[in-house]
Amino acid sequence: GETADDAGEPEEEPAEETEETTEEPAETGEVITLEAVSYWSAHLKDNIPLHYFVDKVNEELGDRVEIVMLGGPEVVSVPDQAEALNTGVIDFLYFPADFYIPYVPEIDALKLSKVSPLEMHENGAHEFFDQLMQEKGNAKYFGQMNVGPEWFGIYTDTKIESIDDFNGMIFRTIPAYEAFLQKLGIECTRLSWEELLTAMDRGTIDGFAHSISGGFDIGVHEAADYLVKPFFYYGAASLLMNLDAWNSIPDDIKPEIERIAYEAQEYGFEWAAEEYNRSIEGMIGAGLEIIELPPEDAEQFLVTAEEAGWEEIAARSPENVDRIRELLTK
């Protein structure tokens, strides 16, 4: 009962295949069902580029492949998502790729990119990371969606006038930018997100960093008085697919999925820019004041951010750091 779909598969497969398909309750073996999970809860806008991808795959390839959106952290809790993708409990994962650092430490470098995710397809960077993902992470890399430069900003109650003002302040951090903040002389502490507002309100912490995008929707501006410019790092949500699941897809569909993923990246890149503007305008409208560092300080701020980042990458992957830096610099 083999169908034309299996034409591209190796010859020795059929025997096993029939055994598997007879176990399936329905004999509609032609449609491969794949499950997708997101880092973000369903109600958050961050998922929009993922939905673009999923809907388009289902629309165009629906008779061959179907992607089912299982949900967000309620399905697989955030700390377990990378593992679930790596082992194959889920097939697609849409998340900030730094959670994949335990498998592919080099992925951390994406935050330092000077090259857009679309340009990465041209200069070989995309291929490079895809290869690393396949070799070390048992994953197919589809690149970043919901992505943009100048991703994170520093939110504080103190009117920052120079870069030295950061020295000795206490910030709530996450691993992505902790090394940078430490270089500014900031003392880093970790708090749960639910306590951020109380901690800022009562002065337990002096500030925190957070993405500009999405900030307005979750009310980041309510926790602080000022947002410090310049913003730093390239932020992104990446789409990964379990490699075994990828390999099980008929070869003629693979390029189609890659094409749709690229279109989702194009869409996501534009959408993210609009979303970024909407968020920052919303926060300003709600009373958040933007303060700019003096030009020399601003430059030093960004250089420090980069240095801290590249030092981390060099420590994580001494063998690949030079190649990555070359690929991610224009």
Binding site: L70, G71, V76, S77, T87, G88, L191, S192, E194, T204
Partner: protein, 438 residues
Amino acid sequence: MEWQLMALIMFAVMLVLLFLGLPVSVALLIMVLFGFVVFVDPALGVNHVINGFFSSIAKFTLTPVPLFILVGNLMFHSGVAMRSINCISKWMGSIPARLSFISVAAGTFFGAISGSTLASFSLLASILYPEMRRQNYSKAMSIGPILASGGLAMIIPPSALSVFYAAIAQISVAGILIGGIGPGILMAVGYSSVILLRVAINPSQAPKYEFEKISWRERFHSLAVDLLPAAFVTGLMLVFILFGITTPTEAAAVGFVASLIVVIGYRNLTWDVIKKTVTSTMETTGMIFFITITAASYSQLLAHTGISTGMVKWVIGLGLTPIVTVIAMLILVVILGTFMDQVPIMMVTIPFFLPIIEAFGYNMIWFAVMMLIALQIGMTTPPFGLGLFVVKGVIPEIKVKELYAAAFPYLLSDAAVITLLLLLPDIVLYIPGVMNLI
């Protein structure tokens, strides 16, 4: 497979295991392993569940759970809590049903220091009941108030169960804790009204008795020596939160250190006290956290298989008005509470309830506090309840029927409080709102 069928199979498996007397955590673990292997991934199901152990429990937000329990146990086993009862007793003049009122006052005061209901029940039952019996109080006026006011510890902050709720529901810990102040006081007022009413109808239930006259000088002395040091524990936590020295979650550690200071100050920190405190704390914590681990997988299993979404859509599709749905949920919690412990009820129901509450646009903290009161009722409803076990431990000869009768009027009072909260959400939300927590 349809979600209804999967849900039916899994719930049937779990119910059978539970009713056969298997520990709740073990029954959940078996169901989760079964569910993930059969419905999600035959090859990786077991690994997936085991991998999830770490993230479900290694959460900073859960830190106050053992620490609040630790404080309650330390205050109880060291005798510091008993001192505060003595002080309250000295201040309580010659009123009718004196000991019953002391029980409510002590339950409220200790509830504001301790985050452990078990410690509260043990305290009231072991210290107040013998005296009540000596003075010929009826069961309704002795066991009733003890059962009623022991549960205040989980509504009035600090509360281990509130923190636990906030951690599962991912809502503000401070919000849910502070939101319990208004309702907690209201509950204490309700219990006092029940006592007043009963003693007015039938004064023989709580006979007046002669007790030593206490001078004002002695009262104030007792206040300073017996009550204030215990109040220092909560006071220090509040000060540290208000001045931003700690976050509400971290304040549990301040409470722990403060209670240690108080106990050392009384020179009561013996090896025996330490042993009893740590043992009882880890018994409760270990039990709660083992269930947490399995229940986290359980709620993920429901989400993974689409049962949660199916159920939510089904409930909303019933077309009940939102408020009727909320009432139905609370009644369900009370019913489950007659034969299940608080922690498993939360773990089993919250994954279903919250998406529905969210879809209706209700405030999460408001619902959480009402649900906590409904859970609190479950501690005193036979046949299964933490409060009942403790009281039975102190008074082995008591019959189930008598417990019903003793506890029932106070449950009506709780129901009245929940009704009030349904009508006036501000009783919960006003203080957190003023403090900018919601």
